[in-house]
Symmetry: C2
Subunit: 182 residues, 2 copies
């Protein structure tokens, strides 16, 4: 994969995660990267091709981490998962699901489908993680694991959004709350 192609993906992802999919244009990419608009179209003929690939590579990154962590304890896996969001926060970026999901109906179909699949995968991963943690007595919570999983992924997602809007460290609160609650 060429350098420019990756630069385009990186920049576009950043734009999506700060301004949203519908608020950036190919000019916002060609300008900073000092190429022509058509060069972006050469790599990604349609904007939705670019959007789709950003979702797919994010999904692959998650699957890779997932594999890397597979032998870790549930607590450690949870800590690592939360650390992913902490990194996003420090970069002032919302997560991809939050960035795209809130305008779901406006997205091209291929992006909707990819986004949904990735989100389901993360949700199921979290559910399994919590179940395992309960079984191994690492965790100790009263809720059903799937309910807890939804609470955790939902609150992490929003914490990055609210951080920007409220300009308080919502993520920090949410992190503390999650860790006390498992």
């Amino acid at each position: 994969m060429s350098d420019k192609r990756i630069e385009i993906l990186d920049l576009a992802e950043n734009l999506i995660r700060t301004k949203g999919y519908n608020a950036f244009s190919y000019r916002d990419i060609s300008g900073p990267l000092q190429i022509k608009n058509a060069a972006v179209h050469y790599h990604f003929p349609k904007k939705s091709d670019l959007g789709e690939e950003i979702i797919q590579r994010t999904r692959k990154k998650f699957q890779l981490k997932n594999k890397e962590w597979s032998h870790y304890s549930p607590q450690r896996r949870l800590d690592n998962f939360i650390a992913l969001y902490e990194e996003n926060q420090s970069l002032n970026l919302v997560c991809l699901v939050g960035a795209l999901g809130s305008s779901y109906e406006s997205l091209p179909e291929n992006m909707q489908n990819n986004l949904s699949e990735m989100s389901r995968e993360i949700r199921i991963w979290m559910m399994e993680l919590l179940k395992e943690g309960l079984a191994k007595k690492e965790f100790n919570f009263a809720e059903k694991p799937n309910e807890k999983a939804d609470l955790i992924i939902a609150s992490l997602l929003s914490s990055l959004i609210l951080d920007k809007v409220i300009r308080e460290n919502i993520f920090k609160s949410v992190k503390a709350s999650i860790l006390k609650g498992v």
Copy 2:
């Protein structure tokens, strides 16, 4: 306030909360309402005027509920607050903060400011509610009230987004989890 003006606000709010602020145009309003584009500009010269007023009236609605509920018990106020999100879910709408917040950087300044103020107000309201509930022994949780508040508002916000993306009843899980956790 004229009929058409309110119709414009209602439709625009719906568009923002399904497709996002940057994915709708004045044509999406003038078309369905059978008026001309310039008629929308007559009521709201700039798109950001429309956006701002939608945030402001949402804030006023919250303040009104707030006042209406002021003599209710913390538990009942919390139930009512959650019921607001339940209604959104049944209408397949994300909340305004979620819809706008995820593309915060793309918003005109007047909208950013209004959105931030409203969100802070809701957060503080929830913090007070939880503190009061603890003091009155209606609630019983280990976290700090402000941490718990952030968890609750964050998870409710995202549950509506994830509901659409994952097509599972994430809101229901989150609601159950919140109620068990206070």
